[in-house]
Subunit: 263 residues, 3 copies
């Protein structure tokens, strides 16, 4: 193993009870016996491209340069969607051209997008139902062995964009969308603390399910027990949290719900 | 690390919330500090030997030659069942002699079966409740260090067979069994597309819970939304799927249920 | 990779569906590209310090000397609790000073406790909500590169203790506490077989939900189907088990419930 053996990071919606993740790992090790395979998460909500993109763009920047991300959230497998590689400023992103790579690619800066069409680097025969196994894992493994990416396909200029919803302004109200709810029940909103401040100043209330929230704290420790509050989360987004409680359960709200911020 | 350091692939029914999986890894690294430990799945249904065997035989062939599979689905631990090593054409399979290794061993071709009875390669003292820790992980680790397998035990010729149920013919009907339901709700049947065709030709209907299914597609993309159909899955078996839906939930059927195929 | 590259073992309550675990791995690999990252478990019950400590102390001893455990169960993050490193006889334990490291540290023997306060080894800027990412993972990674621990902080002498509850004697009764329930439904009690014997001798009954248990077996194999019994578990603690069944479900009891042992 040398510094030339970048990690191959897996992000899928496969869950962990089936054999799919194990198969990806087997394919990679068959091509690169020294492959350094890292699980980012296999808990993307099934076929949820925005959620996959959110996890990827949240975690990506903590990995070393030249890390290869192999992303399989692929509801259109076997149809006309292209397999692609996006070379960003620091990383290689391999996956379907359905927008799942987009958030992360934009965040890090796109240098080139390749349509993966050199079938000699795929498994053969190529199935129409499991391109994670047949295309994305083999391509990631070949890259990790030092294969020049130009050998993998032709540049294309029209990757499918897929951005997170942005806050919607309606007079003195801002319509926010819930991006994610983590294991603790913390609710990630599609706005940063700075963006909130610039819209509402210091006085506001957020209608969130059964509650009206108007406090922002810097840490969980500062908050009162069981009172929902806002916090600048480690992801950079604003989050609704409850100390010694589960905000999502307490407020009764879920993924992609919309909330109203009033100033 | 050299090419002589084959991966040790773990497959268990331990789940991921307890310390069991971590303990296996600790034991392996204590014997082989360079051990390349790979998680296949720890989501085998508790004590379900056929399910464990199914996942193993589905994933095995994608791993490089000489991979060591350490399989712990072991309801009879502490009783009279033997610990065994099966050397197949390409792989080492380590686990209890209860049939869980059988499907994979037969698929790849059995070369020799050893009864693991050289206690010097076990942890000591040997417990009667956790042979994954005390026997299978240590044996897998010693193998990964290059130990000649002959040192681990005596050949035996009567490993416990355990095959998946096969389709049952009743006149113009074939009774099929559900082998697995994956995270997307896709339902794996115990028949391949070729086997189905040779029995029914082109005209058939499959009674599946509330539905009658008579369409086969090559990809999810070709199917109509929310209409159950058949597909040759990536595992080689036929599967019932629903595009933009969950077939198992929609049809209300579960593991080991039987379905009737009519011609 | 050399023998100087000890494994970094992760134990958290992050679960596996979010990006948190992936972020820890990215941070570690950015500091030590050869970091050998091992998942012990990410299934600690959210913010349950005793459960985290129990899993750590159960698994720790199976890992090789100098293994670095990076433990993140951290409800007080951002408050006044200190980040610490405990050097035990054989291991490095990195995590918050809230008691989660205590059981394991005491079991292996504490040599020195350091208050991690050298911010040059942290990520910058330091968040107030995710010290796993900003402090514990970076410190573990630097240790794995061979950094002398003295560079990481000052010795302190008052780490927060947090012990498992011990059996409570009330005349001829012993009040036991349930420490854990594993994936099979086996119930871990806060007493060893030897301790039980020294209190009750050979005759006893344990009131456990709907059942009175008075049998001890050495293996699952010896027990009768569906009859709850006691067993010296692989963890060293006594456990209530049901052969071909799930003891916790059958008896209707849960975590931290108390049971009465009568002699």
């Amino acid at each position: 193993m040398t510094a030339k053996n970048p990690p191959i990071v897996l992000l899928t919606d496969f869950g962990l009870k089936d054999a799919f993740v194990g198969i990806l790992k087997g394919v990679i090790l068959s091509i690169n016996p020294f492959g350094n395979i890292i699980d980012l998460s296999h808990g993307v909500r099934p076929q949820d491209l925005l959620h996959g993109g959110f996890l990827l763009s949240t975690a990506m920047g903590y990995f070393p340069s030249d890390t290869i991300f192999c992303v399989v959230v692929d509801p259109g497998v076997g149809g006309s969607r292209r397999p692609i590689l996006i070379r960003t400023k620091n990383y290689f992103l391999v996956g379907p051209d359905n927008g799942v790579l987009w958030q992360a690619a934009r965040k890090n800066g796109i240098e080139v997008v390749l349509h993966l069409n050199r079938t000699s680097y795929f498994l053969s025969p190529l199935s129409s139902t499991f391109h994670g196994r047949d295309i994305f894992a083999p391509v990631a493994a070949h890259l990790s062995c030092g294969l020049a990416m130009e050998k993998l396909g032709e540049p294309v200029y029209d990757p499918i964009p897929l951005d997170l919803p942005i806050p919607e302004k309606k007079g003195d109200r801002l319509i926010l969308t819930i991006l994610d709810i983590d294991i603790y029940g913390n609710i990630t909103l599609n706005i940063s603390l700075d963006e909130l401040r610039s819209f509402v100043g210091n006085q506001f209330w957020l209608e969130a399910g059964s509650a009206r929230i108007s406090k922002i704290y810097e840490t969980y420790a500062q908050a009162e027990d069981r009172q929902p509050f806002l916090l600048a989360a480690s992801s950079g987004f604003l989050e609704i949290a409850v100390k010694k409680g589960n905000a999502a359960k307490q407020l009764g709200i879920g993924h992609w719900n919309q909330l109203v911020l009033n100033r």
